[in-house]
C-alpha cells in the first residue's frame, strides 16, 4: 500500500453527479462497469457479529488516509474488508464524461452564427447577449411578429432570456419584418442577427 497522498477519490467523485443520494448501486445492464454484488451467506449458525458506526468511520478514515493505494485490507475476527484499485478502470467512463464536457463547451462555437451583414435600407435586430430566443410573450400566445409584420421603433419583436431573466427586445426602427433568422427557443450568441427589418 503506497501511502502517497493523491486526490484519487476526489477525482473519481468528480465523475459522478454530486448531491445525488444513492442507496443502491445503479446497475446499467449494458455497462461494462456493472457492479456485481455477490452475496454469499455462510452458515446461519455463525455468531451474531456487531460493528459500530464508530468502527465504520475508523475504517473509512483509514481508507481515506491511505490515499493512492493498490490494495487495502482490514481484518478483525468479526469483520474484514479488502479493496483493490489495481485493475485499471475501464477508460469509457472518464472519456465518455469528458466528451460530454467537451461537447458542451464547443457547441456554441460550432453553431453557425449569422453575424451582422447589414445592407442599406435594412436594420438588423441583434441579440444583446448569449441567451435563449423566444418569439412569443408566453408559450400559449401567438408570436410577437411574423414576416411581413409592420413595426414601429418600440414594437416588441421577441424575448431574449439571459441568466433566467426575460428581456423584451424592441424593433428600434420602424419598418417591415423581412426575415426571422432564429427558431423559437433556440440558443443564441451575443451579436447574432435575430430579425431583419426593411426600413
Amino acid at each position: 500500500m503506497a501511502i502517497k497522498k493523491s486526490p484519487l477519490t476526489k477525482a473519481s467523485a468528480k465523475l459522478k453527479p454530486k448531491l445525488k443520494k444513492k442507496t443502491k448501486p445503479k446497475i446499467k445492464p449494458t455497462s461494462p462497469l456493472k457492479k456485481k454484488p455477490i452475496v454469499k451467506a455462510k452458515k446461519a449458525t455463525a455468531p451474531v457479529a456487531t460493528i459500530s458506526m464508530q468502527q465504520v468511520k475508523e475504517v473509512i478514515g483509514l481508507i481515506k488516509d491511505a490515499g493512492h493505494f493498490n490494495t487495502f485490507s482490514y481484518k478483525t475476527p468479526e469483520f474484514e474488508i479488502e479493496i483493490e484499485v489495481g485493475n485499471k478502470r475501464s477508460p469509457e467512463v472518464s472519456s465518455s464524461i469528458n466528451l460530454v464536457g467537451v461537447a458542451q463547451t464547443t457547441t456554441p462555437q460550432a453553431t453557425l452564427v449569422s453575424k451582422s451583414r447589414s445592407q442599406a435600407g435594412h436594420f438588423e435586430v441583434l441579440s444583446p447577449m448569449v441567451g435563449t430566443f423566444y418569439r412569443r410573450p408566453n408559450p400559449t400566445s401567438p408570436p410577437f411578429v411574423e414576416i411581413g409584420s409592420k413595426v414601429s421603433a418600440n414594437t416588441p419583436v421577441c424575448i431574449v432570456e439571459v441568466m433566467k431573466l426575460l428581456n423584451t427586445i424592441a424593433a428600434e426602427h420602424a419598418g417591415t419584418i423581412i426575415d426571422i433568422c432564429v427558431t423559437d427557443g433556440a440558443t443564441i450568441e451575443a451579436g447574432q442577427v435575430l430579425m431583419v427589418i426593411e426600413l
Binding site: T9, T23, K40, S52, I83, V85, N167
Partner: protein
C-alpha cells in the same frame, strides 16, 4: 393553545433555533437534504433543547418540487409530527416560495396548509422590506393561530441606516407580530453595527422578542451574535457544527458558549447536540457532501455584497456564457447597478436582477442598453417600495414611472376558483396549491419522501452504511468484505 414566549430581557436565556434542516443545507448543499437524510437525526434534534426548529424556507419548497421531486406537504407534516419542539416555516410573503407575486387567496391557502401540517411559527419577510407584502400572510397566520415572526432584511447602503430599520420595525410592532427577526442573508452585519442597531430595535420592539438570523460569509457572525445577546435579543438561529459556518449560520455550540459567557445560556443537551453533529458529519462522508468551513474575514464582500451561494452560481453562469474572465468587472458593475436601482438588497430575486443587469451592462459596453423586464417591473414599484431612489438615467432608459401607491398583492387577481375549475372538485387543497405555484409537469408526480425515510428507518445500520459509502463510485475495482456470516463482494 400555544404558549406565548415570555423569555426575554438581558438575563433570560438566549434560546437557539435550529436551521440544520433548512438554511444549513440550503447554503452548503444547494438545498438538497432529503427527508430520509433528516429522519435519523430528528430524535436528537428534538432532545437538544432548541426553542424552535426551522424546517421550511422558499428554496426548500422549490428545490423539493423541482429537483428532489419530493412532496413538500408530506415532509412538513412528517417533521412536525416527529418533532415535539415547535416547528417554524418561512415564506417570502406575497411571493410565498418563489419570486413572482401571488394573489391573497393563494397566500391564505398556503398558510392554512402549513398550519394544518403542524407548523407553529410562520416566519415571513419581504426582500424589499415593504411590509405591505407580508400583511396578507400575517392576517392568514393569525387566523390559523400561528405565532408570527416577521423579518427585517438587513443590507448595507447609505439608505439602510438604523433609522430605516427602526421605522420598518415600528411597522411590525403596529402589525402586532409575535417576534421580530433581523435577517442578514449575506452576513454583512458587523459587531460595531450590531452595537447601535440592536439596542435601537430592542427599544422600538417594546417587549416583542427579537431573533437574529445571520450568515457567516464575512466570518464575523459569531461576534455579531454576541452583540445580540448583550443587547437583549431572545433567540438566535444556528446550525449543527459540521453544517455551520461558511455561507451557513453560526454553530450552535459556539453561540451557546457565547451565551454562557454572557450569563444567558439556555439549558441544552450537549450529548444530543453531539449526536446530531456526528450523524450529519457521517452523511457528509457517506454521500460526499460538503461540511461548513470557517471563512476568513473578506472586505470585498462589503463592496459587492453578493451572497456566498450566489457567487458560486454566478461563476458557473459566467463560465457557461464564456465570460468568466470578466468577473471582476461584473462585480464592480454590480455595485454601480445597485446604486442606480436605489439600493435593492442583494437577496433573491433582486440579487439575480442586479447581477444580470451588470452582466448586460458590461457585455454590451453601454449601461442599460438592454434592461430585463423584471428590472423594469421593479423600477415601476411593481414588487414594492424602493429603499432609495433609482437614478434618472435608469428611469429614462427603462421608460417607466415609479408608482408604489398600490400594494403589490392588489395587482394580482384571485386564482383559486379558476384552478378549482381546471383541476376539479376532487383534487386535494395541497395539490391545488402546487398547481398555483408550478406548471403541471412539476406540480404532478411528486413522490412521498417520508415513505423512503420510514423504509430506511431511523437507526443507522453500520454495515449497510459502510456499503452505501463503498458503492458510491469510489475508484475501486474490486471490494470484498465479510461481516459475521455475510460476505459481500463486487467488482467493476
Amino acid at each position: 393553545m400555544l404558549k406565548k414566549p415570555v423569555t426575554q430581557g438581558p438575563s433570560a436565556p438566549f434560546q437557539m433555533i435550529d436551521v440544520t434542516l433548512r438554511d444549513a443545507h440550503q447554503c452548503l448543499w444547494s438545498t438538497r437534504m432529503t427527508t430520509a437524510q433528516m429522519y435519523p437525526a430528528l430524535d436528537n434534534i428534538d432532545r437538544a433543547g432548541y426553542g424552535y426548529i426551522n424546517i421550511l424556507g422558499g428554496a426548500v419548497f422549490d428545490v423539493m418540487v423541482r429537483f428532489l421531486r419530493e412532496d413538500p406537504w408530506k415532509r412538513m407534516a412528517f417533521l412536525s409530527r416527529e418533532l415535539e419542539t415547535p416547528t417554524d416555516a418561512l415564506t417570502r410573503g406575497q411571493s410565498i416560495y418563489t419570486f413572482e407575486l401571488f394573489p391573497d387567496d393563494v397566500v391564505d391557502l398556503n398558510i392554512a396548509l402549513l398550519a394544518e401540517s403542524g407548523i407553529k411559527v410562520l416566519t415571513v419577510y419581504d426582500a424589499l422590506n415593504d411590509n405591505r407584502n407580508i400583511t396578507s400572510s400575517i392576517v392568514s397566520g393569525k387566523k390559523q393561530g400561528m405565532l408570527i415572526n416577521a423579518m427585517l432584511t438587513y443590507a448595507l447602503s447609505p439608505v439602510h441606516d438604523d433609522a430605516y430599520f427602526v421605522a420598518r420595525a415600528k411597522e411590525l410592532v403596529d402589525l402586532k407580530v409575535d417576534f421580530i427577526s433581523v435577517k442578514d442573508p449575506t452576513g454583512l452585519l458587523t459587531p460595531e453595527r450590531g452595537a447601535t442597531l440592536f439596542p435601537a430595535l430592542v427599544a422600538i420592539a417594546k417587549g416583542i422578542p427579537l431573533k437574529l438570523h445571520s450568515h457567516c460569509q464575512s466570518g464575523l457572525a459569531p461576534l455579531v451574535y454576541e452583540e445580540a445577546i448583550k443587547a437583549g435579543f431572545s433567540y438566535g438561529y444556528v446550525a449543527t457544527n459540521c453544517l455551520a459556518n461558511g455561507a451557513s449560520l453560526p454553530s450552535v455550540t459556539e453561540v451557546l458558549a457565547s451565551a454562557a459567557r454572557l450569563g444567558r445560556a439556555p439549558k441544552m443537551n450537549l450529548s444530543a447536540l453531539q449526536e446530531v453533529d456526528d450523524y450529519f458529519a457521517w452523511i457528509c462522508t457517506r454521500d460526499s457532501l460538503p461540511q461548513g468551513k470557517k471563512l476568513a474575514y473578506d472586505p470585498a464582500l462589503y463592496e459587492h455584497q453578493i451572497p456566498g451561494g450566489m457567487i458560486s452560481n454566478l461563476r458557473a453562469q459566467l463560465a457557461t456564457l464564456g465570460i468568466a474572465h470578466r468577473e471582476q468587472e461584473i462585480l464592480e458593475e454590480t455595485a454601480q447597478v445597485r446604486k442606480d436601482l436605489g439600493y435593492p438588497i442583494l437577496v433573491s430575486p433582486f440579487a439575480q436582477y442586479i447581477v444580470t443587469q451588470a452582466v448586460l451592462n458590461v457585455m454590451q459596453g453601454e449601461r442599460y442598453k438592454t434592461i430585463p423586464d423584471e428590472v423594469k417591473l421593479y423600477l415601476r414599484g411593481h414588487y414594492g417600495k424602493l429603499a432609495g431612489q433609482a437614478s434618472a438615467e435608469v428611469m429614462a432608459r427603462a421608460g417607466v414611472e415609479y408608482d408604489p401607491s398600490q400594494r403589490p398583492g392588489d395587482f394580482i387577481k384571485p386564482a383559486l376558483s379558476n384552478l378549482r375549475k381546471q383541476w376539479g372538485k376532487s383534487v386535494s387543497r395541497e395539490q391545488l396549491c402546487l398547481h398555483a405555484f408550478y406548471p403541471s409537469n412539476l406540480a404532478l408526480g411528486l413522490h412521498d419522501g417520508t415513505l423512503v425515510a420510514l423504509k430506511q428507518g431511523k437507526q443507522l445500520e453500520p454495515f449497510a452504511e459502510l456499503m452505501k459509502y463503498l458503492v458510491q463510485g469510489k475508484d475501486f475495482s474490486r471490494v470484498k468484505t465479510r461481516f459475521g456470516s455475510v460476505e459481500l463482494s463486487f467488482s467493476y
